[in-house]
């Protein structure tokens, strides 16, 4: 019995170490590959030139600007809606059918694959609403896509605001609305920021939903009604069109750097959130 135990322990322990090593190796392979191949491709002109093959300009500036546009517009639409929805769910809604319907649909939105969002964006925003292939079509599509992330994360952070704050405010005669805007939201700000950053991560990485909505024009979009290619789409096109592997490595590297920055930021915010959570419940 004892020996059997021992060998069981040993085997399981070995598996734990082996599989963890596999995970780590996977990670090192992917990031190492991109960094080693991509970093040498980075130059000032690569980052700041426009993209114009006939003029031998292969910069990614337009894609970076378009990506920023897309992020701004998407957040402009989705953040208020998401925050308000979260406020409703946490502060107003009574548990029941309505709330469970809202939750179910939010979960559903989170589960829909991005290619289906792309299809929907193509039928609805591009064709039906005649917004054509534009930053706006892309942003509207992505707004729906990131909505669950914002609602969920904001909800979590609203819940971490200590009850006493809210009760204190109400007891002092402040209205419910005032309490929400003056007490609850400011105290949930780091969670909301985390939601925003998570969303930015998704927008930066999105391809399938944008291919048929925001289009692939490699120029800085002149307005939100113009088409504009984002970084991820640029990488996809560079690779599948076989245009330039070197540029693809460079673009992948820049994307990776952006993702790392986003990650660190959200880890920092999550840390702050956790601290608040512990501070709140320590009482």
């Amino acid at each position: 019995m004892n020996r059997k135990n021992k060998s069981y322990d040993l085997i399981m322990k070995a598996l734990i170490w082996i599989f963890s090593a596999v995970t780590l190796v996977f990670f090192l392979l992917v990031t190492g590959f991109i960094i080693i191949k991509g970093a040498p491709q980075i130059s000032w002109s690569f980052l700041t030139d426009i993209y114009k093959v006939t003029a031998d300009k292969h910069g990614i500036l337009p894609m970076m600007v378009n990506t920023v546009y897309l992020i701004l517009i998407t957040l402009l639409i989705s953040v208020p809606v998401g925050i308000f929805a979260a406020i409703y769910l946490v502060e107003y809604a009574k548990p029941g059918k309505i709330v469970s319907v809202i939750r179910f649909t939010t979960e559903t939105l989170a589960g829909i694959p991005s290619i289906v969002y792309g299809l929907f964006g193509l039928i609805f925003f591009v064709s039906f609403l005649k917004l054509d292939w534009s930053i706006l079509s892309g942003a509207l599509t992505l707004s729906i896509m990131v909505l669950p992330v914002i609602i969920r994360t904001t909800e979590e952070s609203l819940k971490t605001v200590p009850r006493e704050y809210k009760e204190g405010s109400l007891a002092l005669g402040a209205t419910r609305l005032r309490t929400i805007f003056k007490i609850i939201l400011p105290n949930a700000i780091s969670g909301i920021l985390a939601a925003v950053i998570l969303s930015i991560g998704r927008i930066v990485g999105e391809t399938a939903a944008l291919l048929f909505t925001s289009g692939i024009v490699p120029k800085i979009a002149q307005s939100i009604f113009n088409s504009g290619r984002t970084m991820s789409l640029h990488l996809y096109l560079l690779v599948t069109e076989g245009i330039s592997t070197d540029e693809a490595y460079g673009t992948a590297f820049v994307l990776l750097v952006i993702v790392i920055v986003i990650n660190r930021l959200s880890a920092y915010l999550a840390g702050r959130l956790r601290k608040r959570l512990q501070g709140g419940s320590a009482e």
């Binding site: 399981m12 039906f128 209205t175 990485g205 990488l235 992948a252």
Partner: protein, 301 residues
């Protein structure tokens, strides 16, 4: 006097304001309901007529996909199977690796190791799928071709490798959360009864965290089945029935992404219909997920 009437006016104003804002909250909360309704409607509206014209049975169980030819077929069984095989493969590789890594991080790992691995896993979760696809195309595809001396490396196997990698973060993070939420008494009782630490993990904690881990697996399935860009870069995308681990194949998502730009008429509706099938798959997964979380207490990322 006038003070009182002003106060009244002020009160009325705030009341209207409050009414408006609070209703705005509610409206916003219903945006997701509305979005799901519109998405469902438009996907089905664009896909169903084509599916009916083709014949639902012929569409789902047909094995010939050649929509542009005179007597061409509109069968997407190869893609349905392709999606299922690729996802199953990713689960078979990704779940054990992910689960054991989660055990490592939640129970075994020394501090320095978690300090390295946790951010690494968070980063894996954040890497865009095109970057995975690019990595797959440049590293995995040539590797598979050479290692197994195949005519080509674009294959089910390559796609499975990439997908396993992509679902890892989901499986790991959710497993960690659910293992950590196992009540401490369980662990202590097991240890007190003389079980070793490892036994306690695998015979007490993991069974107790079962529903959480399962929801992680389901989310992983969702991610794998919905993945598009990374898969089309390594799959080969041939519209035939997948014949083995090393055959070129096409997924439902790939079918849409590759041909959408070129399709018209019935071909186009057939692609929307492919979206309908995908949508139904996801809805089913979502319902399963709801059932699991309702039963076993919610565990979220």
């Amino acid at each position: 006097m006038s003070n009182a009437s002003e106060l009244k006016k002020f009160n009325k104003k705030t009341r209207i304001m409050t009414f408006l804002v609070e209703n705005l909250f509610m409206v916003c909360a219903f945006v997701s309901v509305l979005a799901v309704a519109i998405i469902t409607f438009f996907i089905f509206y664009s896909g169903l007529p084509g599916m009916i014209e083709i014949g639902i049975f012929d569409f789902i169980f047909g094995t010939d996909w050649s929509p542009v030819y005179a007597d061409g077929g509109f069968g997407i069984l190869p893609m349905i199977l392709g999606s299922i095989y690729a996802t199953a493969g990713a689960i078979i590789i990704g779940v054990p690796v992910g689960l054991f890594t989660a055990v490592m991080l939640s129970r075994i790992a020394p501090k320095w190791l978690s300090r390295i691995m946790r951010p690494a896993i968070e980063l894996l979760a954040g890497i865009p799928s095109v970057v995975y696809g690019f990595f797959g195309l440049m590293v995995i595809v040539p590797f598979v071709q050479k290692f197994f001396s195949l005519p080509m490396g674009q294959s089910l196997f390559s796609a499975i490798l990439i997908l396993s990698l992509m679902i890892l973060p989901t499986v790991i993070t959710i497993s960690i959360t659910s293992i950590n939420s196992v009540p401490r008494e369980y662990t202590e009782a097991s240890l007190a009864l003389g079980a070793t630490k490892i036994e306690t993990i695998f015979k007490v904690e993991i069974p107790a965290a079962k529903s959480g881990i399962l929801s992680g697996v389901i989310l992983g399935i969702g991610r794998a089945i919905g993945e598009t860009m990374a898969v089309i870069m390594v799959a080969g995308n041939s519209p035939y029935m997948p014949t083995g681990l090393f055959s070129s194949f096409r997924t439902l998502t790939g079918n849409i992404a590759i041909e959408m730009g070129y399709a018209s008429g019935l071909h186009r509706s057939a692609l929307f219909a492919t979206g309908v099938i995908l949508f139904v798959f996801i809805m089913i997964l979502n319902l399963v997920l709801m059932a699991i979380t309702r039963k076993g207490g919610a565990v979220r990322e």
